[in-house]
Structures are given as C-alpha cells and as structure tokens.
C-alpha cells in the first residue's frame, strides 16, 4: 500500500531547512510558498528517506482569488506519496517556477496547465500551447472563461 506521508510532518521538516517556506499544511497536503517551490522540491527529491523520484501528476485549480497548482509526488523506492501545492494570488499573468529540471515528466503537463489555465512556468524549455492552437484567445479552464 502506498503510504500517504503526513503533510504536517514533512512541512515541519521543510520549514526547518527553509524558514518561511510553508504557507499551510494539513494531514493530506502542504502548501509551499511559490518563492520556495524549487528548493523545497529539490529537497523532497534528493533527501535520503524521502526520495520522491516520481512526479505522478501536476494539475491546477482556479479558486478566483488564487491559482493553486497541485503536485502529486511518489517515491517508487519507498512506496510513499505526498501532495504538494503552491499558490499564485491574483489573476494577471500568474507565473510559477517550472520543475521540468527536476522531473522531466512535468514537461507536457506544465504546457497543458499553461494552455488551459493560463499559468506560466518560468524556466520551462518549450512553454507553448499544447492542445489549442497558437493565437487562441483565453484559457478555457479558468472559471471566468465561460
């Protein structure tokens, strides 16, 4: 059985190494401040005992006040999982750091979020629309689109 690690416990570990990086945490998930996303992700991937080598999925949700991006991480080695989130407050040109450098599996998924939700990822090697065509106006999965 894949063990879902406690968001609170991992959050306190990350907070210890990078003070001020955790915005919120619960049993199910933790929310990382977007400025700390890359360092926290690197920590989760490379720390022995955590070893989150597999990025299961990324998705984004539009909550009007903010965009939330959800990273489902899994460690194939230890068979445990963790849900990491990050938020961008505001609706104008939301930008978050890209994790493609850590997990290449993020490539198409970040492009999908950019295409449909309009969240840009800084540092993505090829950030352009993936399903809709160049020149399409708007981002359909945003709640104010239709």
């Amino acid at each position: 059985m894949t063990v879902a690690l406690s968001g609170e416990e991992i959050a306190s570990q990350i907070e210890e190494h990078f003070p001020g990086s955790i915005a919120e945490s619960s049993q199910q998930s933790l929310v990382v401040d977007k400025e700390f996303l890359l360092v926290a992700a690197t920590y989760l991937k490379t720390t022995p005992g955590l070893d989150f080598d597999y990025l299961t999925s990324i998705t984004a949700v539009d909550y009007y006040d903010y965009f939330e991006v959800i990273y489902q991480l899994t460690s194939l080695q230890h068979n445990h999982s963790l849900v990491v989130k990050t938020r961008y407050y505001g609706r104008d040109n939301p930008t978050l750091p890209s994790v493609v450098g850590l997990w290449q599996g993020a490539d198409f998924q970040e492009r999908e979020i950019y295409d449909l939700m309009g969240v840009s990822f800084e540092g993505h090697p090829n950030l352009k629309r993936i399903f809709l065509w160049e020149g399409f106006k708007g981002h359909p999965l945003r709640k104010d689109y239709l």
Binding site: M1, T59, L146
Partner: protein, 367 residues
C-alpha cells in the same frame, strides 16, 4: 571530399495510418537519422475537463468512456473510484469482483489491440492484428452481454455497477478463460522469435530505467524499463490485494520488451480472472446512492493501473452536484514525454515502431 548536407524536416500525420489516430510529429532528419522530434497534439481536443465541470457526477461517467475508448471499463473504474473516495461511498462485495473481472478483460482487450497494431507497424501486415481481433471480439461479446455496448460501456456507477451480469455471462467467461492461454501461446508461436521482428524491435528505442522514472512513464512502458511498479500491487485499489499475480518486467526497455511485457500481462490477467470467477460472491451490486451526489467540500485523487498506465482522476468538490474541478491524469499523454529521447539517433523507419510500442490512444492524449 565531404559532401555538404543540411537537416531535413518531415511531417508525419495527423492523417497517417501508423499514428493510431490524429497524432502529428515533426521529425528533423540528418540523412536517415532522426536528430529532433516535436510531437504536435490537440487534433482531438474536446475540452472534456471543462465540459465535466458543468455536469453531475453521474452524468460524467459516459465522458470517461470516450477517453481511451479501447479501455472504457478501466476509465469508468478510475472515475468512480475517485468519486467514491470523495463522497465516501461503500461498494458491495459482488460489485467489486465484477469490476475487477471487467477491468482485467479490458486489459486483455486493450493489449490485444496494442500488440496487434505494434506488429502491424513492424510490417507483419494485418495477419497478427486480425488473429488478435478474433479474441478481442469474444471479450466485446462478453461486454455486450453485461451492458449492451461494445465500445463505450458506461457500466460502472458510483457505489457499484449499473446492473448484475446475465446468467449466460459466467459460463461464457469460463469458456474464454479456459481458451485464452492457448491463444496467447499461439501469438507467441506466430511472432515472438521471428527473425524480422527481433531485428526490428530488439535494442531499438531504448528507454533507460532512470529516464523512464524521470519522465513519469507508467504502465507497460515503465515496466519494460525494468521498474517493478504496478499500482494494483503498489497501492491496491478495489480488491486487488486478494489475488495472486506477478508483475512482468523487461530488462532493456526496448520496443521488444514493451511488446513482451504486454503479452505476459495478458497471462497474468487470465490468472486474476480465474481467481475472481471462483471467489465471486452473491449479493447486491450497487449500494444506495442518491441520483444527485453532493460530496463534501474537498478533493480526491483516485488512480488505477489502466492497460496503458496510471490513469488518475483528480476531483475537487464544492459540495454542489457537479465537480468544481475535474482533471484527468492521462497515462498516454505522459508516456509521450519520453518519445523524443527514445527516437533521437534512430532511423526514420524506426520512428514508426518506437511510436507504436508506446501504445497510445489519441482520444485520451488530447481529451
């Protein structure tokens, strides 16, 4: 004297028989050798995630049929599992067994198409494909018995399945389970040691273990690279912890390994079917679920080992009758991430085989 050359771009698809749908790739070639690949997607994008936000939880089940239409039962299962996780719905025992039976039959059917199409791409034109369609037809007949449909089943419901199986189903399933191992042997005899297949698929399109993990590959693609990871074992959903089966893996992560893993997985599915059939209890097939489900505010990620990889549904509820967010973790889209790395350095004729060995379904890639 060196001849001056320059890279050459060719376009394959979207309308091309070996792209298995409307997939397009731009290959940059140096002579015959591929130096760059750009997949271009979206020709079948229907906006299912957006559409689903405007429909009730039950109304969304038929949408899942139209993702990977070669594995509709698996898609149904992944979605209802996610909703059940979100709403905390119990599922009767008999329904769990019937779900497993349908999901494993579907895995065999999907692998038959995947392997048949792959061999087609390798140049064994149509003969093996039709041999495999012969057995797939029997599975579709079984599905037709239980729900009246042959492709888009809409069979599973939140809290169970839509209806119990008819009495002629179990004898027919028994016959199929007895016959199937013999048919798999037949496929093996046809082509497994075939000189041409070995020459074209062995050592071609290698996906190393580390890269497979790093690119979030899943399903047979990941396992062929030597990673023993199957969600049915790693994170058992439904009642998979009650069955004995093995996880076949490959050694090299080449096209041949991906083909072999699929053939072996069919044998394991037959094993699961046998056990599920023997243990199948009597009883209800659907728990009491209101027509309009209003899950509590929250989110849930339900995932299964679909024939093509990890299929997951990420649902967010705002306590209304429709999901606030409906995201599909499509295995074949993510398996395509590694396509470029697998193809570079190979010849243009290998591109078709490497692409075929991933076994994708464009309806799921583009959604």
């Amino acid at each position: 004297m060196a001849i001056k050359t320059e890279p050459f771009v060719i376009n394959i698809g979207p309308q091309h028989p070996s792209t298995h749908g409307v997939f397009r790739m731009r290959l940059t070639l140096d002579g015959e050798v591929i130096i760059d690949v750009e997949p271009i997607l979206g020709y079948l994008h229907r906006g299912i995630e957006k559409l689903a936000e405007g429909r009730t939880y039950t109304q969304n089940i038929p949408f899942t049929d139209r993702l990977d239409y070669l594995a509709s039962m698996s898609n149904n299962l992944a979605y209802v599992l996610a909703v059940e996780k979100l709403a905390g719905t119990p599922v009767p025992e008999r329904a769990e067994y019937l779900r497993v039976i349908m999901a494993e039959l579907q895995r065999i059917a999907s692998h038959l198409v995947g392997v048949g199409a792959f061999l087609n791409d390798c140049g064994a034109f149509m003969t093996p494909f039709l041999y495999m369609f012969r057995e797939r037809e029997k599975i579709l007949d079984l599905f037709e018995m239980v729900c009246g449909q042959r492709l888009t089943y809409n069979y599973m419901r939140v809290g169970g399945i839509s209806q119990d199986v008819p009495e002629e189903f179990l004898p027919a399933l028994k016959k199929f389970v007895l016959q199937m191992p013999g048919f798999i042997d037949e496929y093996d005899q046809l082509l497994a040691e075939n000189e041409i297949l070995l020459a074209r698929a062995k050592g071609v399109g290698i996906l190393p273990r580390e890269l497979a993990i790093n690119t979030s590959a899943s399903g047979p693609v990941l396992r062929a690279s030597g990673v023993k990871w199957d969600i049915r074992k790693a994170d058992p959903y439904s009642i998979y912890d009650r069955f004995e089966f093995d996880i076949p893996t490959g050694n090299f992560g080449d096209c041949y390994d991906r083909y072999r893993v699929r053939i072996q997985e069919m044998r394991q599915s037959v094993r699961i079917l046998k056990q599920a059939m023997e243990q199948l209890p009597q009883g209800e097939v659907r728990s009491d679920v209101p027509h309009l489900i209003r899950p509590p505010v929250g989110e849930a990620y339900g995932h299964i080992e679909a024939p093509k990889g990890e299929l997951g549904f990420y649902l967010v509820s705002d306590n209304s009758i429709a999901p606030y967010r409906f995201h599909i973790r499509a295995p074949t889209l993510i398996n395509l991430t590694a396509l470029r790395d697998m193809m570079i350095g190979w010849k243009v004729a290998d591109a078709i085989i490497i692409f075929g060995s991933i076994d994708i379904c464009l309806a799921e890639v583009d959604r």
